[in-house]
């Protein structure tokens, strides 16, 4: 990475970090949400974008992280940091226990098995007294939005740096090899099972931390919202919209889509959902490799870029 790029990245982080000092409360709140979604999209990027496994179970990690914080703070009355650690621990255990059998599955089958796990978690947590059953838990409020904002930004920086490391490490190349050709990767000496489980767990750690921060910020959670599958779909959409398997694509995708949906829901509430659906459909048809790919190829192909995409995938 050149010095200019490091300077540019540091500047971007500094500007984002300064938002609580000059931005309005609404902007800061929007920022917390958008940054946490970006963390989730990046977390998904590790398992989905790099390892090529379309996980619908990342919302489980998010939910475990949320409940880790809630249970630790409400039931055991321990500090926030212990809650984050507990949530991460649960996410890692989940990734190893269920990742091992489920990561043997490929393609759609993996996607659906993880989707089913997410459904099962809702029902299980709804019946655990420690987790407040289906009523949920109420956390002690902490009215300090700038703090949550900086935590979210710090987490996003950490996950992005991790992904930057992936693109330069043996581990990351192993994941890309698995995505491109799993048998081939195994033949070349990549321990595919270990790599996949580690990627799943790494992805889970960041999702769990995001869930924990969100839970303490919102101060309330119930099984339906903590293990919400549409959140998982959202992170996939944001990652794919931005460009899966790239360092910054999912961040850009998450921030862009959050901004668009925020603008729409404040201006014309009723059509926001419809617009979201149409954007997704149009994006898949016209720019299937995400914004990052447009930036790269638009200069060469111009407007033909969109036609080329359709040509490549139609029958």
């Amino acid at each position: 990475m050149t010095a200019a790029r490091i300077a540019l990245a540091s500047l971007a982080i500094a500007v984002l970090a300064a938002v609580p000092w000059f931005g309005s409360d609404v902007l800061v709140q929007f920022g917390i949400n958008a940054l946490l979604l970006a963390v989730l999209a990046q977390g998904w990027n590790i398992i989905g974008g790099y390892a090529g496994y379309a996980s619908f179970g990342n919302s489980v990690f998010y939910g475990l992280g949320s409940y880790g914080v809630a249970i630790t703070m409400v039931q055991w009355e321990l500090p926030f940091a212990f809650g984050l650690a507990f949530g991460v621990l649960m996410a890692v255990i989940f990734a190893f226990l269920l990742g091992l059998p489920v990561l043997r599955l490929k393609g759609h089958y993996f996607a659906i098995a993880t989707l089913a796990l997410a459904q099962v978690m809702i029902a299980i947590v709804s019946n655990v007294p420690l987790a407040g059953q289906n009523i949920g838990l109420v956390l002690p409020p902490l009215n300090n939005d700038p703090l949550f904002y900086e935590l979210a930004l710090g987490l996003l920086t950490a996950v992005t740096l991790t992904i930057f490391w992936l693109t330069r490490s043996r581990f990351g190349f192993g994941l890309i090899a698995i995505r491109e050709n799993e048998e081939g990767a195994a033949v070349m000496g990549v321990n595919t099972t270990l790599y996949k489980v580690l990627a799943f767990a790494l992805s889970g750690v960041f999702s769990a931390l995001a869930g924990g921060i969100h839970a303490y910020w919102i101060t309330f959670l119930d099984p339906e919202s903590a293990f919400d599958i549409s959140l998982n779909v959202k992170m996939i959409i944001m990652a794919v919209f931005g460009g899966p398997g790239t360092i910054l694509g999912p961040v850009i995708g998450a921030l862009t889509l959050s901004a668009v949906s925020e603008l729409l829901s404040s201006e014309v509430t009723s059509v926001a959902g419809l617009f979201f659906g149409i954007v997704v459909v149009a994006a898949v048809v016209l720019m299937p490799r995400g914004l990052a790919d447009i930036v790269r190829r638009f200069r060469k192909s111009g407007w033909r870029y969109f036609a080329e995409n359709i040509k490549a995938h139609r029958i």
Binding site: R104, A116, Q119, V120, L274, G277, I310, I315
Partner: protein
Amino acid sequence: MDVGLLAQILINGVFLGGLYAIMALGLALVWGVLNIVNLAHGAFIMLGAYLSWYLYAGLGIDPFLGLPINAVVMFMVGYALQRGLLNLVVRAPMFNTLLITFGLEVVLTYLAQLAFSADFRTINPPYAGNSIALGSLVLPQARLMAFGVAVVLTVAMWAFLLRTKLGRAIRATAQNLVAARLYGVEPRHLYATTFGIGIGLAGAAGGLYGTVSQINPYIGATLTAKCFAISIIGGLDNPLGVLLGGLVLGVIESLAVLYIGATFADVASFSVLVLVLIVRPRGLLGKAA
């Protein structure tokens, strides 16, 4: 344990399972042939339910007699959608086809909410409350009829895929697109026809669902998830496998409600799904890979 109660629960499960099977049949067909997991499938079932509701409430057409109209209308919707939109992305990576059908689901649900409002509705033909007593067992008439139609349609689908020229073309395309093309299959038309049949089945399933259960614009997502589970349990190769998958799921859910509690019904069915995926990834009746 009361044997009568157990028998009644099993009957309820079987009736539910038949309905599940017809719901999942279209999803499994589209998945097997086009390799698209249609996340909007449940939304099409929802649309079919509303179509039957309007046919009955507006024009007074009996929901069971209206099923052919329903299926034909939905077939045309499905054909147009595949021809105009989904054929453009059918060779894209899996994420993308998943995402586009998810986008469609969002759009359809939103439009349904706009057009039909969020109220609960039921298709209530005069015989809706009737039931047939068989010893100590109670067979609700509408559920029995829905079950019968579902089984007949599933078997008809099986015969269609196995015996007719079009059915063979569809199966050939699922196995090997290039070879099918060499034998004169026109893939754009065939894909659209297959998707149309899938959506037509969803429409019919929706009509049946509306006669035994309440409908609102948001039922789609849950139904899609169930259809997935059934397709996996039954396998994609064979409509009879889907029928078996539906029955297994229906019975498991009914038993789980009785023995473990209503909140665990979904846990039971999805646990079975995960188990089947791990032990027999090609379904209970599926051939070995």
